[in-house]
């Protein structure tokens, strides 16, 4: 399909872990069988709890990590095996914006140098006007070119990170927790900026976040991850208003809302996310699921369309049905 910017098929990523030197290494199944598509113009939110594999998936998608299994296609071309210099044109289409703006910018480089680097990697020399343009796009100005990262606030640094990603005119930005290190008032500025850039430049996004409210604000589609798998995905409006997977439902109900005395049916999950070294058999969520039955332990449920919808899919034997 021509409008598919990113397609992951059956992607797995296992990491070897080391304990004490006298212990056997085991594999962390950070991503354990994910199919994921981003089409042009979409903003896909990737949500899930810590350790569910969001960042790993983002890094596999940008080819910063090699998948253990599965394929990565960017702009319709399979790039799973592409390496080194040949990756340049691929990297150009799809850029990663990191969570911690402090850590992802080299403190010894001026903003000008930081913004020039991606051009260089593509073998181009940018003009000053180009750099100033970039800064303007993210709400900064030319006078900031000569400054260093520590002279900026967290929100401004995140803008610089975004400007750097935009410099190669990507079609898709993968933002890994772009606002989670920021204060609410600044977070709102950056979220609005992302929306503006989408409208102006026709960008598409994958927005990795653990904050479900942030994702609801900007995403057109969401995918919910649990223990390395996508357990539910669909149009944001549908998933948020009628979650089909018990995990999504519990997750949404756990988010506190800024409304004193708001009546909410909270599902407080017991226990913790199991370790991805040794995930449960069958449905990964079954150890905490309030609907689990014997069948859930047998075979992992696959994503299937939710009743009455084509785009909205959940991986559950007993999905919630929308109460209309």
């Amino acid at each position: 399909m021509p409008d598919e910017l990113l397609r992951l098929d059956g992607v797995r990523k296992y990491f070897g872990v080391r304990g004490a030197p006298w212990r056997e290494g085991k594999a962390v199944r950070a991503v354990d069988g994910v199919d994921f598509v981003v089409r042009k113009g979409e903003t896909v939110g990737l949500v899930g709890e810590s350790g569910s594999g969001k960042s790993t998936l983002a890094r596999v998608a940008t080819r910063l990590l090699d998948p253990t299994a599965g394929t990565v296609a960017i702009g319709g071309a399979d790039v799973t095996k592409v390496r080194g210099r040949k990756l340049r044109p691929v990297r150009r289409k799809i850029q990663l914006v990191f969570q911690d703006p402090q850590a992802s910018l080299n403190p010894r480089q001026s903003v000008g140098t930081i913004l020039t680097t991606p051009f260089r990697a593509q073998g181009v020399r940018p003009t000053r006007a180009q750099l100033v343009d970039l800064l303007r796009q993210v709400g900064l100005s030319g006078e900031h070119l000569e400054r260093y990262p520590h002279e900026f606030s967290g929100g401004q640094r995140q803008r610089i990170g975004i400007a750097r990603a935009l410099s190669v005119q990507p079609e898709l930005l993968i933002c890994d927790e772009p606002v989670s290190a920021l204060d609410v008032s600044v977070q709102a500025q950056v979220l609005n900026l992302l929306a503006d850039l989408r409208d102006e430049l026709g960008l598409s996004y994958v927005l990795v976040a653990h904050d479900l409210a942030v994702v609801r604000q900007v995403a057109s589609r969401v995918a919910v991850m649990y223990l390395g798998t996508i357990v539910e995905e669909g149009p944001a409006a549908e998933v948020y208003s009628a979650p089909a997977h018990p995990y999504t439902k519990a997750l949404l109900s756990a988010v506190p809302v800024p409304e004193p005395g708001a009546e909410r049916d909270r599902i407080v999950l017991s226990g913790d996310v199991p370790t991805p070294i040794d995930p449960p058999s069958g449905c990964p969520f079954r150890t905490r699921c309030y609907k689990a039955e014997d069948v859930c332990a047998t075979k992992r449920p696959v994503l299937e369309p939710v009743e009455g919808s084509t785009e909205h899919r959940a991986a559950c034997y007993f999905p919630e049905t929308p109460t209309l």
Binding site: G19, A20, P21, W22, R23, E24
Partner: protein, 332 residues
């Protein structure tokens, strides 16, 4: 902990491989030297005949590889030089035979080890005490006079060559003040008091020099540890300062200190060359030094391998102790 046993076995196996490679390297290096050990043994006048005889006796007329294999065989099965009544036996584990000293190298090492061990262990205890306590004091008084003094002391210690400090100590305490004996070694079994009395100056000299690294390490580690959140937790619980510093702060700083200590000690046990030389003590270092002077290749190879073995052993122990000290490693 069967895991641990398995780890030790693996590490020891690896250590043996390293030792093999190392022994080969040492062998090749020393036998490639132009000096001919047989020359020394053949006496004067050294006729070509007698030289040839000596070479044959010392098994130097064989190929280098064959010699190395003989050496290896000696380690496991012992070896015999010459035949009949003139034969010299070197029992397993035979790490070579010193013809100039007319003793198996293994025996020499065993004889000399107590001297070196006495120097090293005593000094080690001292430098650990001095280094860690000064390091803690420096960290607690960061930026103040005590800190400056400790850091200055560490700087001097790091920069001083041990033989110079040793000679100075001998000069001042031995000759001028006539307080302590300046040389010689008395076995512990003979008289523990004399033993310690003879060793006190080398201990102090070594300790003062080595303590420097420990002051710096302890200070840095303590500053780091004391800035951590769990230190604030300890204070928030109502713990007193000394408890905060020792039970919570120093505990965390211990791992790198113990690591450094193990490696230093392992290295020193292989021979405190300069200290032994300066204080005229017949330890392993002195053995190696004089062997080099006399081109006694067998001793050089043997002691070098022994030191290497100690260092490998120290590394292994340090890894194990590290695991024992850091639950994040052992309870992974």
């Amino acid at each position: 902990m069967p895991d641990l046993a398995w780890f030790v076995v693996r590490r020891l196996a690896a250590a043996i491989l390293v030792m093999l490679a190392l022994s080969l390297a040492v062998y090749l290096i020393f036998y490639a030297l132009p000096a001919d050990p047989a020359h020394l043994a053949c006496g004067k006048p050294c006729t070509p005949d007698r030289l040839e005889q000596a070479r044959h006796f010392m098994q130097l007329d064989q190929s280098t590889l064959q010699q190395y294999l003989n050496f290896l065989k000696g380690v496991f099965a012992g070896r015999t030089f010459g035949e009949g009544t003139a034969a010299v036996h070197c029992n397993a584990p035979c790490f070579g035979y010193s013809f100039p000293l007319a003793r198996p190298v293994t025996t020499l090492i065993i004889e000399r080890l107590p001297v070196t061990a006495s120097i090293a262990l005593g000094a080690a205890v001292l430098w650990l005490l001095i280094g860690v306590s000064l390091g803690v004091v420096a960290a607690l008084n960061r930026g103040r006079l005590l800190d400056r003094l400790a850091v200055g002391f560490a700087l001097v210690g790091v920069a001083s060559p041990s033989f110079l400090v040793g000679l100075l100590a001998i000069l001042v305490f031995g000759f001028w003040l006539n307080m302590v004996p300046v040389n010689g070694y008395v076995p512990f079994t003979e008289s523990p008091v004399d033993w310690a009395w003879h060793l006190i100056t080398p201990w102090l000299v070594l300790a003062l020099i080595q303590a420097a690294a420990y002051i710096r390490l302890t200070r840095a580690q303590m500053l780091e540890e004391l800035s951590l959140d769990h230190i604030t937790t300890a204070r928030a619980k109502g713990a007193g300062e000394s408890r905060v510093v020792l039970r919570h702060g120093l505990r965390g700083a211990l791992v790198p200190i113990v690591t450094l200590f193990g490696l230093d000690l392992g290295g020193l046990l292989g021979g405190a060359i300069l200290t032994e030389k300066v204080f005229s003590m017949q330890g392993l270092g002195e053995l190696l030094l004089s062997a080099v002077g006399q081109l006694d290749v067998a001793v050089v190879v043997g002691t070098t391998l022994f030191s290497a073995f100690l260092i490998i052993l120290a590394n292994l122990l340090v890894d194990i102790v590290h695991g024992a000290l850091d639950p994040r490693v052992s309870h992974g």
